[in-house]
Amino acid sequence: MAKEFDIPVLPTYLEIPELKEGIMDGEGPFKSVQEFQNPLGFPGKKVDNWQQVAIDKIGELKSKYRSVQVFLDSCVKCGACTDKCHYFLGSSDPKNMPVARQDLFRSVYRRHFTFAGKYFPKLVGAKELDDDMLDDWYNYFHQCSQCRRCSVFCPYGIDTAEISMAAREVLDAVGIGQKYCNQILGKALTIGNNLGLPEPALRDTLLDLEEEIEEETGGVAVKYPLDQKGAEILLITPSADFFAEPHIDGLIGYGKVFHQDGVSWTLSSYASEGANFGMFIGSYDVMRKAALRIRKAALDLEVSRVMVGECGHAWRVAYSFWNTLSGVGAGATDEFAQKLQDQLDHRYPQPQHIIEYTHDLIQRGKLAFDKSANDDRTVTFHDSCNVARATNMGGIPDGQFILPRDVIKAVCNNYVDMERSTIKEVTFCCGGGGGLLTDDLMEIRVKGAVPRMQALKVVEKDNGVNTLAAICAICKSQFSKVLPKFDFDPYMIVSVHQLVSEAIIMDKPQTDTDDVTSVETSET
């Protein structure tokens, strides 16, 4: 069982804590086993010559990713990042200062790849990669959610997330993987989603949902098409949207918006996952494999648009990497990527975020709302780290901050922002991102939530905020778990599209879907 720990008391103001060395020492999250390691191409257990394998891997990464080497070389220890990490602020462990976290990697890099480190290691803080160091890597690189808040403040733009990804890649290479991420990736690459939800279960879950909406709306037949060949839009959304609360109420919102627009759309049972944990473990190969499932689904279903649901790092992967990974967007040069680029309708953003889509419909007056349906709520918005610091929406500067707020304000009368230094480009992570959303990391998840919880407490007191909206599956699950630890209602966390769902006026006549055909063979 997880070790006991004290729930932190929220401070009135966020202050730099007194250091408590070693408070977060430990063995890190549960380790992966052979069954989950091998399918991803990683050794099943710590290899005998692990030091050599690790050093070789570091050498490979520094050549492959110039950024990693630049980040390792350019730190001047100015200290600007030290108090910017939510895990440091919440845990007081100095090894959770971004510079200290980087230095776990940097000191080894110096020892083996710099002249000074090879000959005068003590002078330049170069260290050997021994068992203790490796344990520290595993522990502290799984106390980083790769949220990149620290990099906003670094005068050199050093991205700790990239170092943390590199470290996890080295760990996987020597056979020490994290159970949570690698087990999930196995399911995503074989079944098509992180949950391991097979097609029949997904189909029945969606049918159930259609029934529920029809009941709730008094007969509006909102559909959740699965594997509809020839549909215009393929929606790629985190599988938590099918499975968990509050996520599913967001999925209901997407369906209602599609219904009102009258557009044809579909989900894919082959690529039923937006989240791509390949990014968390730093593996380009695994990330690409997950992305290629989406390409195959888009090609097979002959869609002309690919859209992404409410998932933070899915949008980062889609917005920043899909173009060269898979050809959604432009840039990839292989045959299938080019085929997909030809197939997609470039009058629309490819890929497009569901928020961009709903926002556009609102702008064009295609949706009507009864905002009073949300009058029992005073809402604030949590910017999710990957959306905030790695993407854009709407093609306008700061669109990723403007569009979600515009959508919320179009469907709610009462909206307030949290304190400026905790939102937008300097938003605090929910505490559960980057592959940390697992029960065995509950202590760091709760402590890392402190800065966000503190900002929320202020708007709760001052403005009566009772609803926290987000557009990331991880944020939603993390908040459901940690809110009650800080005396909030766990049900105050909602999807942005849940707010849309509650206010939208469903007045569109039933649409004709004759132009799409199902690729599913009839049940035998």
């Binding site: 999930i184 279960a201 099918f242 609360e245 959303l437 065995d440 599956a473």
Partner: protein
Amino acid sequence: MADILGAEVDEEGFLVDLSDWTKEIAEQMAKDDDVDLSDEHWDVINFLRDYFEEYQIAPAVRVLTKAIAKRMGKDKGNSKYLYTLFPYGPGKQGCRFAGLPKPTGCI
């Protein structure tokens, strides 16, 4: 590896071999968590097991709450009620008692 009544469980207390499950194991797991298994608990556990047998996965929360509403009445068809039965969550604690694997993902 730890075990419960001789059946191997993983570090989170889930059965390693799902076919090892017996009612006695469920009762022992509940006892270890200070939960007294009532008829309502068993109704949920049985539903979880039936659903898993058909679909090889635990039901989505909404599927479960709808099924519970049908069996026990509308006022009980919500996750708040399920949390009163299974304080650590119907997905994680309920599935463990029922001998299902732990649901994984962004949940």
